[in-house]
């Protein structure tokens, strides 16, 4: 008790006030704010993702085409780092000290708490060495990943490649985390969800030193990993390799189908590249090279190149003409060096004259087919050219020529067959007729198709009246049936009977003796039916084209070969097609002299290519890989 006794109240109030403030604050962080609970959980839990092995890819005969190899990523969690010997680490990983510091900085900037990739695809020896010394580097761990490996360096376009997910995918699909791999193109992309399996997760309880104590709650939160499904594709690996070998010196495409099923036997786009070039770390360095190569090796010509079909289209003209009954098998037209009407002239090479339908196919007479077009477009069934044209176009639609066919690969383009409206706009209604568009009859002009459309057309002829959508998947493990759209028959608008004369004509093209345009494609003991084509190219040499199927009865293979800038169809495309057929049907090629001749290119290609900086062109003549 003294004169200042009242000051006790200041103490009392101060103490009570502080207590109150604390209680309020505690209420705030313990009761109101729920986020601390989350932080606590994430402190103590640690989830390790288990990456499943990606599904393998087999060819139609069960030969393995794509398999997995282990790759080792080094993962770092900056928060858990303690001082370590950067020199030693840089030595183990074979990078510079600055490299180590840079990567640490990148990781820290990304997140202090969340693990991120410190270094990708370290080779096995280095990873093993680091693993041994891991106790010296707390905060790091080694994560095993799988990378793709290819038994043969083929089918890059069809198979596609696997790369890291980009931001768009991360935003849209929560399955993927930064640093995950995803199929970027080809079959790898089309069947991504089958091939990738399902990530698993093991949740551990860990303490502040990031040492794993035990499985969290006995594995209650664990998710089992599911291995990816294996895929069997329709490709024939051996044939594919052969096709790429034959096309090595050229620019162009080969598409071979099994007509009765629509299965794609080979899909060749030249120039091509070795699939290894886009695996793992190579992807970053090689993609730029490939993308800037002037010959566009990444461009899948089989699906995306729009070419004029040239004389191969005459087969279609014949079919339509017969179907519309404006011509018959015995319809004849004479031709003396070409087609003449008034001032209009289209040249044709010298041959017997007059020719009937089958002979016209055999000799590939331009005049004949321009006349066929005339007959179709002046058909009295239709009151004007435009309507007759649209009807003509309708047939093409049913043959799969006017829309993308629907193969699994996402980059298929369409050909181009204009509708009548197009010509109406250019020339004015009623101001155009067969003469204006006569080049369509011989597969030139505005008419464009893709190689796969050509092959598909050929398959329709081989089947005498239907096709099945070309596709690459034959079977998926764990899945009973493939998509029904790949087994559905598309019946063409041409009657089956009308195909026979065309088939006859195509038989004679190869086997008919004098006048036949592709006698060099003949194979001993097999009746091959085909049609040559030579497309005019205003920029350089003509393109060489050939379609074929064999055997004539019960055909097993329908093929379309397109070789840019190599002149007559006979010269290059036909032998290539012939060799491919021989290889497929007999298993080996006896005409090795022919093989060697084909592979020795003599004509230069228009664009600059094969400079030393590109690694795009893949094979040497015996198919070995760099």
């Amino acid at each position: 008790m003294n004169q200042f006794t009242d000051r006790r109240y200041i103490f009392t109030v101060a103490i009570i006030l502080v207590g109150l403030v604390f209680i309020i604050r505690l209420f705030q962080i313990q009761v109101l704010d729920k986020s601390y609970e989350q932080y606590a959980l994430s402190n103590a839990q640690s989830a390790r993702v288990i990456y499943p092995a990606r599904g393998l890819i087999f060819d139609r005969n069960g030969e393995i085409m794509v398999f997995n190899q282990a790759a080792y990523d080094i993962i770092v969690t900056p928060r858990l780092l303690e001082p370590f010997d950067t020199t030693e680490l840089s030595r183990i990983l074979e990078i510079t000290r600055e490299g180590v510091k840079e990567r640490l900085h990148t990781a820290r900037t990304y997140s202090i708490r969340v693990p991120s990739v410190f270094m990708k695809q370290v080779n096995y020896e280095n990873a093993a060495l680091l693993q041994e010394k891991m106790y010296q580097y707390p905060g790091f761990y080694v994560q095993t990943r799988t990378l793709r490996k290819y038994t043969r360096p083929i089918a890059s376009h069809a198979l596609g490649y696997v790369g890291e997910v980009d931001q768009k995918i991360l935003d849209n699909d929560p399955y993927y985390q930064l640093g995950d791999y995803i199929g970027v193109s080809g079959v790898e992309k089309a069947y991504e969800s089958q091939l990738r399996g399902q990530k698993g997760k093991n949740v551990f309880l860990k303490d502040v030193h990031n040492q794993t104590i035990e499985s969290y709650q006995g594995g209650r939160l664990d998710v089992p990993v599911e291995v990816g499904n294996n895929l069997t594709v329709t490709l024939d690996a051996e044939l594919q390799e052969y096709g790429e070998k034959l096309m090595a010196p050229y620019v162009g495409s080969i598409v071979a189908l099994e007509p009765s099923t629509g299965e794609v036997l080979t899909l060749v786009s030249a120039p091509s590249y070795a699939p290894d070039l886009l695996v793992g770390r190579n992807l970053r360095t090689q993609f730029g090279n490939l993308a800037s190569d002037t010959l566009n090796p990444l461009f899948n010509r089989a699906l995306m190149a729009q070419y004029p079909p040239g004389s191969t289209f005459k087969t279609i003209m014949a079919l339509i003409g017969l179907q519309e009954k404006v011509i018959s098998v015995s319809t004849e037209h004479s031709c003396f060096y070409g087609f003449y009407v008034g001032n209009i002239h289209t040249a044709c090479h010298l041959h017997d004259t007059p020719l009937n339908l089958i002979e016209a196919i055999q000799n590939s007479c331009n005049t004949y087919f321009i006349n066929v077009l005339k007959s179709i477009l002046t058909d009295v069934k239709f009151n004007n050219t435009a309507n007759a044209y649209d009807n003509w176009r309708r047939h093409l639609l049913s043959l799969g020529c006017t829309t993308p066919l629907g193969i699994e690969l996402t980059n298929e383009l369409n050909g181009n067959i204009p509708e009548s409206g197009y010509y109406n706009r250019i020339y004015g209604e009623e101001h155009w007729n067969y003469l204006t568009i006569r080049s369509l009859a011989i597969g030139q002009g505005e008419l464009l198709v893709t190689p796969i459309q050509m092959a598909n057309m050929t398959a329709a002829i081989a089947n005498r009246g239907y096709y099945i959508t070309p596709h690459l998947v034959k079977a998926i493990e764990e899945v009973d049936a493939i998509d029904p759209s790949y087994t559905e028959k598309h019946i063409t608008s041409i009657d089956s009977a009308n195909y026979e004369p065309v088939v006859e004509g195509m038989d004679l093209v190869i086997n008919g003796g004098a006048g036949s345009t592709a006698r060099n494609a003949k194979i001993q003991g097999i009746t091959v039916c085909g049609k040559t084509g030579t497309a005019e190219n205003p920029h350089g040499n003509d393109h060489s084209i050939f379609i074929a199927f064999a055997p004539k009865e019960n055909p097993q293979i329908a093929i379309a070969v397109y070789v840019e800038n190599q002149g007559f169809g006979t010269t290059y495309a036909a032998p290539i097609a012939s060799l491919m057929i021989e290889k497929y049907l007999t298993g080996e090629v006896k005409r090795t002299w022919y093989e060697n001749w084909v592979m020795q290119l003599t004509q230069p290609v228009v664009n600059t290519r094969r400079s030393d900086t590109t690694q795009a062109v893949n094979t040497t003549n015996d198919g070995t890989q760099e």
Partner: protein, 475 residues
């Protein structure tokens, strides 16, 4: 002797002792939880902290009895002596002591460690009480005040040399004792204002602060002189001059900062007001002005000290607490983990022995400075509130007991106990919930540590002994 002993037991404040025991028990339970690793250690396992703490608790009970047995006069007679011994010991630890965690604060005897800076607290309180009750002592006399200051400041100075900032800082609480004993309230307010100014300097932009000080000065003047007009005129002059200077600076692109311009403005204003003041013989203006100038000087000094004297990590700690900097990984890590541990406890906690943060050692210094986290995590809001209410109750009871002393010595000593106890609780808990910077001091009766436990027990039981004989004749 018998009579006396009966006296003691009759007058002993059993409620305080009960509260003390509750604190010890609950504290021990939390230390146990924070340290238990395997289920098969018995509670007496001396290799574990909880085992040791049990030992310290046992020892402190014995110590408490010993303190109660001694005569109350013992403490008054030996106050200065103990203080002298203390000073010697504090110097001694600097020479002979062992360095742990970067501070030479420990004596190692046998297998045990002793921290003299803890015992310095009750002993300083004894010495201070002795001084303040000495003959003819007057707190208002400057020389006497200085002596009190010397007693208060000497131990922390020595402790700072160890270095142990936290332990030294708590001595500042003795000012509260002086306040209770008559220290000028005005001065206290000034000191408090300086404290606020200190933080304001750190948080606010200095131009804004300058503006606020000028306006505050003007307002104070208006209130004191009861003239709105005069104050407004002064303000108008100041604003006008500032505007002119700003204009000149801008037009001629002189590049002076706003702060400098502000300071320069004040110079002629100050001179003008001073002259006017002398003329009119009204010095209020000048006094207020002087106050404002001192405040400005103070902020400049604080800025200088912060940037040039404090080490970066110390600056950093303060900034992190003030929320000016974010550092979840470095200095902020402790507090962050602490908040997480406490926050994740929810309303009723995760249950005794179930705290994941505690068990997995996410909170550093968990059984010592951050023991409150274990309470928060395992006992939840209910637990933490219980502890706070317990402490408040205890402190309020101590105040009541201090006030009922007839002897000033006892009262002063009591307030010493209250102040020191309060500052520990304030800083320790405040730190764990992120309201105050991280300063390493223990939570009384809770934190693991023999020295701290004994020192606070000493504090309490000396006071209890003094209190028990409060009814005896005045000394």
């Amino acid at each position: 002797m018998m009579v006396r002993r009966n006296n003691i037991f009759a007058n002993l404040d059993w409620i305080s002792i009960l509260m003390w025991l509750v604190m010890l028990t609950f504290g021990w339970m939390n230390i146990y939880s924070a340290n238990i690793m395997e289920a098969d250690s018995g509670i007496f396992d001396l290799s574990q902290r909880f085992g040791k703490q049990l030992l310290w608790i046992g020892a402190s009970i014995l110590f408490a009895v010993l303190l109660l047995v001694l005569d109350a006069k013992f403490y008054t007679y030996f106050a200065y002596f103990l203080y002298a011994v203390l000073i010697v010991v504090l110097i001694g630890v600097l020479v002979f002591g062992k360095e742990i965690n970067g501070a030479k604060s420990w004596f190692v005897i046998g297998g045990f460690q002793l921290q003299p800076s803890e015992f310095a607290k009750p002993i300083t309180a004894l010495a201070l009480a002795n001084l303040l009750t000495s003959h003819n002592y007057n707190l208002r006399k400057f020389w006497h005040l200085l002596q009190a200051g010397a007693i208060i400041i000497s131990p922390p100075m020595l402790i700072l040399l160890q270095p142990d900032l936290g332990s030294a800082l708590v001595y500042f609480a003795f000012i509260f004792v002086l306040f209770r004993e008559g220290f000028s309230a005005h001065t206290m307010l000034m000191l408090a204002a300086l404290g606020f100014l200190f933080f304001a300097t750190l948080i606010m932009d200095k131009v804004l602060l300058l503006l606020i000080l000028v306006i505050a000065g003007t307002l104070i003047y208006m209130i004191v002189s009861r003239s709105f007009k005069k104050g407004a005129i002064n303000l108008a002059w100041t604003a006008g001059l500032f505007g002119a200077l700003f204009g000149i600076n801008y037009l001629f692109d002189l590049g002076f900062s706003l702060f400098i311009l502000g300071l320069v403005t004040l110079v002629p204003i100050s001179i003008g007001l001073t002259i006017k003041g002398f003329k009119v013989k009204d010095y209020t203006n000048m006094k207020i002005l002087a106050g404002v100038i001192i405040a400005i000087a103070f902020t400049i000094a604080v800025n200088y000290a912060m940037n040039n004297i404090l080490k970066p990590h110390q600056q950093h700690r303060i900034y992190v607490t003030l929320g000016l900097e974010d550092d979840p990984q470095g200095v902020g890590y402790n507090v962050n983990q602490s908040k997480i541990a406490i926050g994740s406890g929810g309303f009723s906690g995760k249950g005794y022995l179930n705290g994941t943060q505690t068990k997995l050692h996410f909170v550093p210094e968990q059984s010592t400075d951050f023991i409150f986290c274990t309470v928060g995590e395992e006992w939840g809001f209910l637990g933490t509130t219980f502890v706070i209410l317990l402490y408040i109750g205890f402190l309020l009871r101590m105040i009541m007991m201090a006030e009922r002393q007839r002897s000033s010595f006892s009262r002063i000593f009591g307030y010493g106990f209250i102040s020191i106890l309060f500052i520990h609780i304030l800083i320790n808990i405040g730190m764990t919930i992120g309201l105050l910077p991280v300063i390493g001091i223990p939570l009384p009766f809770f934190s693991y540590g023999g020295s701290s436990l004994w020192a606070f027990t000493m504090f309490l039981f000396i006071f209890l002994r003094l209190d028990a004989s409060r009814l005896e004749l005045l000394r």
